[in-house]
Symmetry: C2
Subunit: 193 residues, 2 copies
DNA sequence: ACGGCATGTCAATCACTGTTGACTTAAGCT
DNA sequence: AGCTTAAGTCAACAGTGATTGACATGCCGT
């Protein structure tokens, strides 16, 4: 088994600070998104990145530093611009109807944000991030004078569906799923209107 | 100061298992709502309840048991029935526009819910509670065949606004507040329709 | 009054986690 | 090749928090 483990790692990664740093960051993004700030151990991240815990301190200063950087790296508001305002309601509604585990990559950054919402350590960081990287872009996307307030509403609804999906246990199926998507789409429609 | 502390507690509570249990539960509800599951220490709860940590184990089995019970005790779906379906959208919208700290008592149970949503330990417990004590009553309130799916949507939107308010930093004022309330009300209107 | 049991207290244990400094090893340059 | 330095490893530390069992004490029935 030890041999297998060694074999799996074709190239044990020649000493490369940048690559290691990137690996840590990637692992951190995934772990933080999956388990939240509190339930993510630095040892887990290090193991996933294939390196030692001490390197996290060296490269990121500590857990909070790593989190902050992962937060920045995890959020790509550019993706917002790719959304088509016409199909947005139904697309998002369908996404929200999916299982919490499926399409995790799509929503990793949001899960990330969400899981950060309840830790006192991360709440302040989150607030800034949401403002800069969520509300502002959404407001811009919406346009108009009342963009700020309307962005808040959109953000609220968006987050709400994320949470609902997060705590949902049994997947939505059949008629229930249809109705859910339909109503959710109608809701987003109203928000955008 | 020691004297003062003693004096504050007029009756150090004669030995009464029920009263102690209730005190613990009350303290737990407040603490869990304020700080979430992870950041609430049993010692804090015990201190607030004026007893020893070990009693928590005796009466509730452990932290998780205490949480489960606090979750049940914290939820009062009866309040739903008091809501008037006609004025619901605007009432709720106005409530959501309020400051996160004001009217904390009103929303303690929801804070509680919210803080539990993002912890892996409590998410399953929460799921059951939400299903039984939130979705079911809402579904009943909404009525109709598609009540279940529509209840999910309402719950999602509701929770979303709660979160938004929770992480909001500056209070909403003036025109922004007006627009927010208006848009939020319209959203709830759509959900109920 | 007194003995037994419920109630409450105390301190130790155990597991976990972030942090840290000393140590080892590989890479790259002269 | 040999040396220097960055890159990576290791083990220990310190703080925390839940859990636990042994112990003390007040209450109630006899």
């Amino acid at each position: 088994m030890g041999d297998a483990a060694v074999l799996e790692r074709a190239a044990p990664r020649r000493r490369d600070a940048d690559a290691t740093r990137a690996a840590i960051l990637e692992a951190a993004k995934a772990q933080f998104a999956r388990s939240g700030y509190d339930h993510t151990g630095l040892r887990d991240i290090a193991a996933a990145a294939g390196c030692d815990v001490a390197l996290i301190k060296r490269y990121f200063g500590g857990k909070e530093g790593l989190f902050t950087e992962a937060l920045k790296a995890s959020f790509h508001p550019d993706r917002l611009k790719a959304w088509d305002r016409a199909t947005f309601p139904r697309d998002v509604a369908a996404m929200m109807a999916g299982s919490p585990h499926a399409a995790e990559a799509q929503t990793q950054s949001f899960q990330f944000l969400l899981r950060a919402a309840t830790s006192p350590t991360t709440a302040p960081l989150l607030n800034v991030a949401v403002q800069e990287r969520f509300l502002a872009p959404i407001g811009e996307w919406l346009g108009g004078d009342e963009a700020a307030a309307r962005a808040r509403v959109l953000a609220a609804v968006f987050i709400g569906f994320l949470v609902e999906r997060l705590i949902r246990e049994a997947p939505l199926t059949g008629r229930e799923r249809e109705v859910f998507v339909e109503r959710a789409a109608a809701t987003f429609e109203t928000v955008l209107k």
